[in-house]
């Protein structure tokens, strides 16, 4: 298969280029390295910052989404509430001979050709049977594999000097937003809808990570939680995107074993019910544009709907945005989950704090109100020191929910506390309701910065006349401008250095290079994707003009130095194109 061969080469080439020119490499190589950790060098760090800045410009500056920064280390209570302690686990098998450990489902995918959907659905017993049935052995030593067990992929630690104070490295930045919901809601002056974004490191203790930047144990996540009233789910920005087309790979196609892509406008996707929440559709359109702006054409993108058992425990509907990678095939780059009221509700239950917001009715209505009164004489002896907290939690839980649960199941769980029918009195009263309290719903787009960096590199990579170009979109290139004296004598370096300093003062990212022939310097600049090269030559000394060279076309124009700051600023903000930078020039 020649295409696969070529693909492998591209990944290797980019990896090699990234190391050699200092975009990124495996961390701690001098100690043999540890899989799943990458260090960004100067160019990579800047590329990553530029991509993150672009996302902030779109979401924070233009859409008015709030940004917060919360810690990576998080007390265990938060992840008990969020469900991560119960659910954030992967099936692992150990080789009985060499003791190496592997992801059980990955082994089945690689060595028994069992699909991702199918292997992710299996429980431990089914995994074990499949491993035995397909006679899968240890890929390292050929030894017999033990029984699969679940491994928590959160990094665990202790906060402070007490052994009991367990903390975890967060596997997502979302919980740092949910736990602060009350304050964030105040900051918006108590208005829905609103969004909150966080960019920060997250940790997932993968069993055996590979795939470079695509799957890291420590990575930068960008989580955006968008809160809205489920009774008013309309997206007021929909009209800006509703005609845009998405390429959807729907769950129903997947179940049929088909790879059919449903290409529909946002409007139709909502009308047909392919996407359940308008805000989710809106953000999917945003991320399609983000990826396009990084250089990924429409046909190399798609949104794949997750099957029920593939979805995270909190999600009602999930899509993964995928890009086509020449080596790894369709690869997730962002996730779009409709988290409903799951997280806020759980934090309300576990913390006892009210996470509901208040909404006035259009006109007051008379209603029958259900009241659940705790019988303290019963709660006291059972829950002892916790009795008051239990009563408090009771008062904050939807009474209907408690009543239904007591009727159907004979008890109701409040966090870890079991409430029985004899613990409470159930009363009904007539009341006039002027408003109501509800827990907002949430849609979440979530993306990994590191994957975006990899995508940008892979799609920027081109070969022209045997030379490598990184054709980054001009607004994410790590270095914007190279400044070069044509030769390093006769006062040209001094003139060029003055220009270099001036452009730095104007806030541009500028490199200066005088080593080697001008052709050699252009080649070096092309290889790290510098969009513009400015050359100072003998004419510059006479008339204060310079040539500007385009990285992709290698065309040149000539411009007066005095006009550069304004021209360049407009160029990098996409207001003008290369040809508008000066008069055509043959070097």
């Amino acid at each position: 298969m020649p295409e696969e061969k070529k693909a492998a080469d591209k990944f290797t080439t980019i990896d090699e280029l990234a190391r050699r020119r200092g975009f990124f490499w495996q961390s701690n190589e001098i100690y043999g390295g540890v899989a799943g950790f990458a260090t960004y060098g100067s160019l990579g760090a800047k590329l990553k910052q530029n991509i993150e800045r672009k996302l902030r410009e779109l979401f924070v500056n233009k859409l008015g989404i709030l940004e917060i920064e919360s810690p990576v280390i998080t007390p265990s209570k938060v992840f008990e509430a969020s469900g991560h302690i119960d659910h954030f686990k992967e099936p692992m098998v150990e080789c009985l001979n060499c003791k190496k450990r592997f992801r059980a489902d990955h082994l089945l995918q690689e060595h028994a050709k069992i699909g991702e959907s199918e292997s992710e659905r299996m429980n431990l017993k089914e995994l074990n049977e499949a491993i035995e049935r397909h006679i899968i052995k240890c890929p390292e030593c050929g030894g017999t594999l033990g029984k699969p067990k679940l491994f928590s992929t959160m990094f665990k630690t202790t906060i402070g000097p007490y052994a009991g104070a367990v903390g975890y490295g967060r596997p997502e930045a979302a919980q740092g937003i949910f736990v602060e919901f009350r304050r964030l809601y105040e900051m918006t002056r108590e208005k829905l809808p609103f969004g909150v974004l966080q960019v920060g490191h997250a940790l997932r203790n993968e069993i055996s990570p590979r795939q470079g930047l695509i799957r890291l144990r420590e990575f930068t996540i960008i989580d955006l939680e968008f809160f809205f009233d489920p009774e008013e789910p309309n997206c007021f920005l929909l009209k800006d995107v509703e005609k845009e087309k998405l390429r959807l790979f729907l769950a129903e196609s997947k179940l049929r074993g088909s790879e059919e892509i449903t290409e529909v406008t946002i409007k139709k996707a909502l009308k047909k019910g392919y996407i359940k929440a308008e805000w989710q559709a809106f953000f999917m359109a945003c991320f399609q544009k983000v990826l396009a702006d990084l250089g990924v054409p429409a046909e190399k993108q798609r949104f794949i709907e997750k099957l029920p058992w593939e979805r995270a425990h909190y999600s009602l509907q999930s899509f993964d945005q995928q890009f086509y990678d020449e080596r790894w095939g369709w690869t997730e780059v962002s996730g779009h989950a409709y988290r409903t009221d799951y997280d806020l509700k759980r934090h309300m239950e576990f913390s006892g704090q009210d996470m509901r917001v208040y909404k006035e009715c259009e006109e007051p209505v008379e209603k029958e109100q259900l009241i659940i009164k705790p019988i303290m004489a019963k709660l006291g002896p059972i829950f002892k020191r916790d009795a008051a907290a239990v009563a408090e939690m009771l008062s904050k839980t939807d009474p209907k929910e408690i009543e239904t649960s007591l009727k159907k199941k004979g008890h109701h769980m409040l966090g870890k506390f079991k409430i029985l029918p004899e613990h409470v009195e159930i009363e009904r009263q007539k009341v006039v309701e002027r408003g109501s309290r509800f827990i907002p719903h949430v849609v979440e787009p979530s993306v990994g910065s590191d994957r975006l960096v990899y995508v940008a590199l892979e799609y920027a990579y081109h070969v022209k006349e045997g030379r490598v170009l990184l054709s980054f979109p001009r607004d994410i290139a790590p270095v914007q401008i190279g400044v070069y004296p044509l030769v390093s004598k006769d006062g040209l370096p001094e003139k060029a250095l003055k220009l270099h300093k001036r452009l730095l003062d104007e806030g541009f990212m500028v490199d200066y290079d005088e080593a080697g022939s001008i052709g050699r310097r252009y080649a070096r600049a092309d290889e790290i994707g510098i969009p513009l090269g400015i050359t100072v030559d003998y004419d510059t000394l006479k008339d204060d003009t310079v040539t500007i060279r385009d990285r992709d076309t290698w065309e040149q124009v000539r411009s007066p130095i005095a006009a550069l700051p304004e021209l360049l600023r407009r160029y990098f903000r996409w207001k003008i194109n290369f040809k508008d930078l000066g008069k055509p020039f043959k070097g």
Copy 2:
């Protein structure tokens, strides 16, 4: 003491303002919070980013220092080599009654009036004696305290699925730079001197943190490692700063029990030997300017030299830059350590990788060369599987060092391996040297972003006519411009929203507010430090001009909308002042 009282109020006021307006607050409050963790809200996150951007502009853009990003989670080998596993510990005592734990030296400082320098110098035995002598009891319950022991203040975890793979949350970002020295040196095309900066989260598991943003368990550190040839230690940028005065609190004054400040120019500080390395002096001048740019006047800053036993294990000379805090007194904001070749040398020993750089001599010299040859027949039986590694390490260590050590101490330690005289042959040969290899020296300025945020807030805080202003320097204000319709009718909001959108498109951070009287909106804006307010009024509809209001003076000018983008850009880059933004205007 009236000053201290006033001071306490300011800290509380800022803390309250920070919570209310969403600059920062203690994380996870709904679960009772955990000391030492803070979450930044929208304004705080932006303020922090602006301060970090300012440092990047200075160091990365203007001085050409490289920036990298490496992981927080680090394999234990790195911290074995760096000495953190041995040295990064604090003395802790536990109350035998209530089991609460405290920093032993802090208890002595607070309850026995023993100074910081003195208590930091004490070993465990001395701490124990001092606690008994001063009859110090548990500050929580009055119980008897146990014997002090050392507590490692690094967060420990496990990397991957094997229990043996210990990792730590990094307590500094510096090691992420040192371990990558070879690659970074290549990226500079093998030229010294050069600097590398990293901005990222760091973790210190403090025993009992207090002081809000000043002492966090998770914080953002900015470490800058500057590598130079110790034989060519001259700083070529010194002339830019040598006339600037520093306020030094020297170790010799401290030892005399004096609080005397030595105010000297950089030039004199170097000449007198107060500061040992020119590059260190240069960066101290840079950081004095950084703090001044955040609003801290010269007399509220000083550099305090650390006494030998107060210095980190790697430092030959250290200064702490302090600012005067109204509540906490003189407080560290940045550290300046001369780390010499300590870190690279240790990593060379522990990893066996060559961290030396090569330098050509001006002319070749004939020299007697010392050669240490391992006697493998002796090394083999003793070091077994490690013998080859020991031989490799021997070949990379300075032979003179080994010879001296073997003569003086009778052995030489290579990491954990003990070399005895009988393990090696020592030979002398005549050779012509054309160059030499050496380990670069390092000076390190290091600063906490969170402290800078706190400093900026404290020094921005002013009360004018009974109203609170945050007078942030214009280039770090979280929001640059407020846009307001004078009243919310007659088409003014539409006009103002159009202007708002236009300024956003131009890349400014802009708020829009139409709620309440214009005076009330100005007050809200002043309280979060928005430098400029632009008001759209009835005249705007006629002539397309607006008023611009200055946050600090409350003066107003009038300007045409068309001129705003360029005027504002120049204003925020400090090219023009408020009065240059338009014609004086009385509202």
